[in-house]
């Protein structure tokens, strides 16, 4: 498999970046970290906007930076599309001219996507003759993404494209990003401090902390690592399952989804049977039962599970994280009291109960 490989070392007054990375050059790679973790600097290094004095970067077969050979491809010669946190649309040009800015600067034989296709994809037709100042934040960001796409990039770099938008606008943009991932075979590196907004998109996850990459790998592998639980923030401790819609029980308002040989009930989704859907299982929504109870229960989702690992216990805290195998690794948060009471040990066969209504984090197909 072809990859993107890089190492960058940059020393600033308040912070440093010191990363060595290798990740697939396909799908969506999310770089996640708190503010000040160096994620934007990492993205700027990948783009060539910052130059690490001892850096190296390879995209597939082409080397864009190798300081040992004194090689550095300047930004404007790299086949990248960059979308900044603030859309940075040129204020002296109309939306149409902004979109055409990069498009006109590549030779016609390098154009893999047309103006019309991008305008359709990002729904830009009603905006074309307007000035950037007259657009909402969400519209500006759609134009910025379209403008980057029109350079037919081989790598799309997104720097917190949703960060400056309110919750409603985020929901306006997200479907476009999901469409982008689905319809264009374009590797995307997406920097964010909010995992929730990208759970429908992420394939590979890079966790960045104080300028260093602490984990790189398939999203669910990284998310379900006990030693990293908490580093992603309490509302995102949990796992992402890639499932398929198996059927609907409209009379109860439920949809049944399947992964491996297990199935789960979730609130009804407007999706066709067979369509893929990602569900987010929050660790706090998962509890443990020792056996299938004889007593009838209201819980719909009961998955046979094996305890893989028990996380470190904090003597001051009341809870502990467990890693379970339910066909996929998932995390569960239980109390320390329950851990002792049920005498849970790695290797034990138990049941994981999942509250259906809380299961889906974002309800979009991808």
């Amino acid at each position: 498999m072809s990859t993107i490989q890089s190492w960058f070392r940059i020393q600033y007054k308040q912070f440093h970046l010191d990363t060595e990375l290798e990740f697939p050059d396909e799908g969506v790679t999310v770089v996640f970290g708190r503010s000040g973790s160096g994620k934007t600097t990492l993205l700027r290094c990948l783009a060539g906007l910052e130059r690490s004095p001892t850096g190296y970067m390879r995209f597939g077969d082409s080397v864009w930076q190798d300081e040992s050979q004194n090689k550095f491809v300047p930004v404007h010669r790299r086949p990248i599309g960059m979308v900044f946190q603030e859309a940075r649309l040129f204020p002296h040009l109309t939306v149409r001219d902004n979109l055409n800015y990069g498009y006109r600067r590549i030779t016609p034989d390098h154009r893999k996507i047309t103006f019309g296709q991008v305008a359709d994809l990002m729904d830009l037709h009603p905006l074309l003759e307007r000035r950037p100042q007259k657009l909402s934040g969400g519209e500006q960001q759609r134009v910025a993404i379209g403008r980057a796409l029109l350079t037919s990039p081989r790598l799309l770099l997104l720097d917190e494209p949703l960060a400056n938008l309110d919750a409603q606008r985020k929901q306006d943009i997200l479907p476009f990003l999901i469409r982008l991932r689905k319809e264009m075979k374009l590797p995307i590196v997406y920097v964010t401090h909010s995992l929730g907004e990208v759970l429908q998109l992420v394939d590979t996850l890079i966790l960045l902390q104080e300028g260093k990459s602490v984990a790189t790998g398939p999203a669910n592998e990284v998310l379900s690592r006990l030693d990293l639980a908490g580093k992603t923030g309490p509302s995102t401790v949990g796992s992402v399952l890639t499932t398929t819609v198996a059927g609907h029980e409209t009379e109860f308002g439920l949809t049944r989804v399947q992964y491996r040989d297990q199935s789960l009930y979730i609130p009804e989704q407007p999706l066709e049977v067979g369509s893929p859907l990602r569900v987010h299982l929050l660790a706090q929504d998962i509890s443990i039962a020792l056996g299938k109870s004889e007593t009838p229960t209201s819980v719909l989702n009961l998955l046979p599970a094996t305890i893989l690992e028990i996380g470190p216990t904090d003597p001051k805290g009341s809870s502990v994280n467990l890693k379970l195998d339910v066909g996929e690794p998932i995390l569960a948060t239980i109390t320390r009291k329950s851990l002792a009471h049920l005498k849970l040990k790695p290797g034990m066969q138990v049941y994981a109960t999942v509250k259906a209504v809380k299961m889906v984090h974002e309800i979009e197909g991808y």
């Binding site: 010669r77 990248i80 204020p91």
Partner: protein, 227 residues
């Protein structure tokens, strides 16, 4: 009305001087302002202070040093004379050099402000859209700085029209060569030719006012608001 009492020659020389000076200033001032707006170098504050000197120095001080520098034995005038055989002091070329220095901050400062307001962010966006540095300067930074250019042009032009001390020191008062309107007015007043002084002074006043009026009115209509 009797226009024959107006001496047109100083007016023509003044306009020619102001136009030449502004052209030279825009050519030299743009890279200087660009450098000042974008350099991380510590030398920046030194250059900024030097550029601003004509704002505070009495014109006679600047004129005095220029007279020495432009003279037949001066650092600029000496080489010039040995190459061309003519003197820089008391010549039109000398006047252009003097007014360029004298009006330098009036052109550099508005340009620097405009480049700083546009910032590096839009340039980075342009580079990421395949524009080279030069291309990005022409297609993004310059049109975004159009107000700055307008202000710089008008201030440079108007300031050159109004200069007196430096011109007197460097250019002398040679009719048809270096005698500009401000000096002609002074001469008329000295000779008690008040009606001629009125014509020139009133003309300069009206001209300056109309130019500024047009600029301010036009500036409001420009589409680009950076900040």
């Amino acid at each position: 009305m009797d226009f024959s009492i107006i001496d047109w020659q100083p007016i023509w020389i003044t306009l020619k001087l102001a136009a030449t000076t502004v052209s030279v200033l825009l050519l030299i001032g743009t890279p200087v302002a660009w450098w000042l707006a974008h350099t991380p170098s510590r030398a920046r504050v030194w250059v900024e202070a030097v550029v601003a000197l004509p704002l505070v120095l009495p014109p006679t001080v600047l004129g005095f040093y220029l007279l020495i520098a432009l003279g037949a034995n001066g650092v600029i005038g000496g080489p010039f004379q040995s190459v061309t055989g003519s003197s820089l002091a008391f010549s039109f070329a000398g006047l252009v050099i003097a007014s360029t220095l004298y009006s330098f901050p009036f052109v550099v400062q508005p340009l620097q402000g405009a480049f700083e307001a546009a910032g590096k962010t839009y340039l980075e966006a342009a580079w990421s859209l395949r524009a080279s540095k030069w291309d990005a300067f022409l297609s993004v930074a310059s049109p975004m700085a159009v107000r700055g250019y307008l202000t710089a042009t008008v201030l440079g032009f108007a300031h050159t029209l109004g200069e007196f001390g430096v011109v007197l020191m460097v250019g002398g008062n040679i009719p048809g060569k270096t005698k500009v309107v401000s000096i002609a007015i002074y001469d008329h007043v000295e000779a008690l030719e008040y009606s001629q002084a009125h014509w020139l002074s009133g003309g300069l006043l009206l001209f300056s006012f109309i130019v500024l009026l047009i600029v301010y009115a036009f500036n409001r209509r420009l589409p680009v608001h950076v900040s």
